[in-house]
Amino acid sequence: MNEPSTITIRDDVSIVLAGPAGLGISTIEHLVPRILRKAGYNVYSTSEFMSRIRGGSNSTEIRVSSLKIATYVEKIDILVPLDAAALQHCEKRVSSQTLVLGEAALLDAKLPVVEVPFEKTALAAGGKIYASAVAVGTVCALFGVPAELVTEYVKHFFGAKRPDIAQKNAEAASRGFDLGEALVKRGVVSVELARDASVKDELFLAGSDAIGIGALNAGCDFVSSYPMSPSTGVLTFLAQHRKEFGIIVEQAEDEIAAVNMALGAWYAGSRALVTTSGGGFALMTEGISLSGMLETPLVVHVGQRPGPATGLPTRTEQADLELVLYAGHGEFPRAVFAPGTLAGALEVMHRAFTVADKYQIPAFVLTDQYFLDSYAAMPPHDLSKYAVTKHLVKTEKEYKRYALAENGISPRGIPGHGEGIVCVDSDEHTQEGYISEDLDLRTRMVDKRLGKVSYDPDDVMPPRFVGPDTFRNLVVCWGSNYLAVREALIKLGWKNSAMLHITQVHPFHAMVDVVLTKARKVIVVENNATGQLAKLMKLSLGYTTHEKILKYNGMPFSVEELVERIGKAIA
């Protein structure tokens, strides 16, 4: 096969590394973005992978850009397939503008491949397992990263394990670097990309990290969960930092135990978090209702993945909004958040804990696999602005847990803190918390619980409006689609259109209504098959969505796809 002619990539590069699970791809995934960032580039990375531990075909996209981007694109500028299956896996995304690097013979390629002897070089460096380090070197070289930066970082990364392995990998990376440099010199590829001085101040975080940090920063001190992709990353993150923060992180026997532990913990004064995915959350439904009845706060993070049932465990979707909105028998208030950015995740976690505690209700944070497993840069973020207030009282002798207060919120005492005793009851109950069949009291207690939803406007998170004030079309989205929709609209030049990201999905902030009223045409973008936010807008505010842009194959929206579909919708 022939080498392609020179490719020049400007301002925005998408590198995709693909290969079977367990073949070192996760090493490349980790190293390349971090080295490029050290070199001063804006970097973003996102992975898609199969529900298996070894084999199959996974891929990671690393976007490097002159701009601050953090979204998935379909196009591939540079593809590094680690085996033939990987190349096939990415085939649809390969165009004549794609540079495929690798060993043609090994890849069984029908496409033109720029011959780069990763494996041969690895063998020379000491063994096949160094192929990933070679690839790291090659890719970094294309971006003109200084050679020492690469080898030093590689050494630093492996250093933790064993110095000899670190040295070998650094050597392999160095050899790979030479291969990449040669490509540049030969003029096969040239990358023209602006560096960005602010990168060094930024933090490079996964969505999971942000949720975990956000929880700690909101005073979370108790975590009870059962592993379930894609939410396990949050559990792992918090477990890793458990000791440092003196918090409890317990893997429960099942999700039902997890949610009931969390309620026990809140009852005793802790601030508990449960992290799960749709199927696990489904099992917590009764516990959610218990939170509603006990008026014991609860925060649950739900990392969405495609359902129903087991579905596609490692893929992404936004189809559990209705699940969390209506989970639990009987009627009681709740709050639902869905962050669109890392900073948003930090804020949302704080709001979820605050609202849950202040209003004594369950609060849910909805993310998805795409959000949790992607790494993006975040500008410095002041965490201290999120004050943690524990809405607790020291009890007096005659303390009544469910004292009928004007606003429905009875001061919350906890056992062992004060003179009183604290009784909470899942039956309908008296002000003291004892089982009761007084049917007039029943009505008052229902009114008390439901009355709490008239939130202080300060406690509802406003949506994010972006675009010209004089818009005709409004593109509405929630959760992880924020940045992709924004980038698509920027690419489309806005054209009389604006966007609204609903970060608190329930209850809606008053501004949602205000903005919707102005729109002539409402377009909703959702990663599901039935348009759950559109339904909620109809139900809560009476708005009919004119066009729904939906996707439910397990992948997130790409920017190109949104440019095309939104473009058509606003044409």
Binding site: F245, E253, N260, G264, S270, L290, V388, I421, C423
Partner: protein, 288 residues
């Protein structure tokens, strides 16, 4: 013993006259009174059924949660604030049926709680269906031709999982039950007390008399450190042993082992988040 600290006034108790639950309530009040526990420091977590109504009838903190789910709540309460005395209380259906999974895993987790199960071998509150401990042949409106499942054996299962304290009591004998409950509460770690409790309304087979006739107390010759021997006793069905079958003092309670109460002994609610530490962590993670 003066139990007045735990007494409540004007009670409308929902149990049937003659129900074994009254004795368990009395025994429990007496046990906590004799141990000198303050009501403010006692928490009873319970589920749904007749048995879990117990904490409604005396002066104590109460977490009356869902049917079958008292144990996870109790575990978390104790772990959140280890200075509290925590009891999980419920019926045989509640704890061994709906809550069976929590039972086995709480035994493994070993929080320092006393676990009191009112074992009347029937579902009382829902009007007389079989419970996991109902004997074979027990006829009910649902088990029309009698129970066909092997009865659940809570003591044997607890022993299989090396529970740190395994006992059985009989509601018909308050003084002995008080003694057993006191030991269970004092025991450091998970302590199971399965209490034989006559249900005068729905269990006409396992009556006061039946329990009296079919039980005996273990005496000093019994060695509670012998797990195999305890198992042998636990699976006997000709006469059911009462008393403490097994104690394993080598197990560390969950809240001690979980790592949150190393240097800092304060309950979690008294601690404040160290924002600087969080910021440092974010910096470390984000710039690695």
């Amino acid at each position: 013993m003066d139990t007045s600290a735990f007494d409540k006034q004007n009670l409308d108790i929902a149990w049937c006259p003659g129900c074994g639950n009254f004795s368990i309530l009395d025994a429990l009040k007496q046990a906590v009174a004799e141990l000198g526990i303050a009501p403010q420091n006692l928490v009873v977590a319970c589920g749904i059924g007749q048995a879990p109504k117990t904490p409604h009838y005396f002066n104590t903190n109460m977490f009356n949660g869902l049917h079958g789910r008292a144990l996870p709540a109790a575990t978390a309460i104790k772990a959140s604030n280890p200075s509290l005395t925590v009891i999980a209380e419920g019926g045989d259906g509640d704890m061994y049926g709906e809550g069976g999974n929590h039972f086995i895993h709480t035994v493994r987790r070993n929080p320092d709680i006393a676990h009191i199960v009112h074992d009347n071998m029937v579902y009382g509150l829902t009007k007389g269906q079989a419970s996991p401990t109902s004997k074979r042949g027990f006829v009910t409106p649902v088990q029309v031709d009698g129970v066909i499942l092997e009865p659940f054996n809570p003591l044997a299962v607890a022993l299989a999982l090396d529970a740190s304290f395994v006992a059985r009591a009989f509601a018909g004998d308050i003084p002995q039950t008080v003694e057993i409950l006191k030991k269970a509460i004092l025991h450091k770690g998970y302590a199971l007390v399965d209490v034989f409790q006559p249900c005068v309304t729905y269990n006409k087979v396992n009556t006061f008399k039946w329990f009296k006739d079919n039980t005996y107390y273990l005496d000093e010759t019994h060695d509670p450190s012998n797990r195999v021997k305890a198992f042998e006793l636990a699976i006997k069905t000709d006469a059911y042993p009462l008393g403490i079958l097994y104690v394993n003092n080598s197990r560390v309670p969950f809240e001690e082992a979980c790592g949150a109460f190393g240097e800092d002994k304060r309950p979690l609610f008294e601690r404040d988040v160290d924002k600087k530490k969080v910021a440092e962590l974010m910096e470390r993670v984000g710039k690695s």
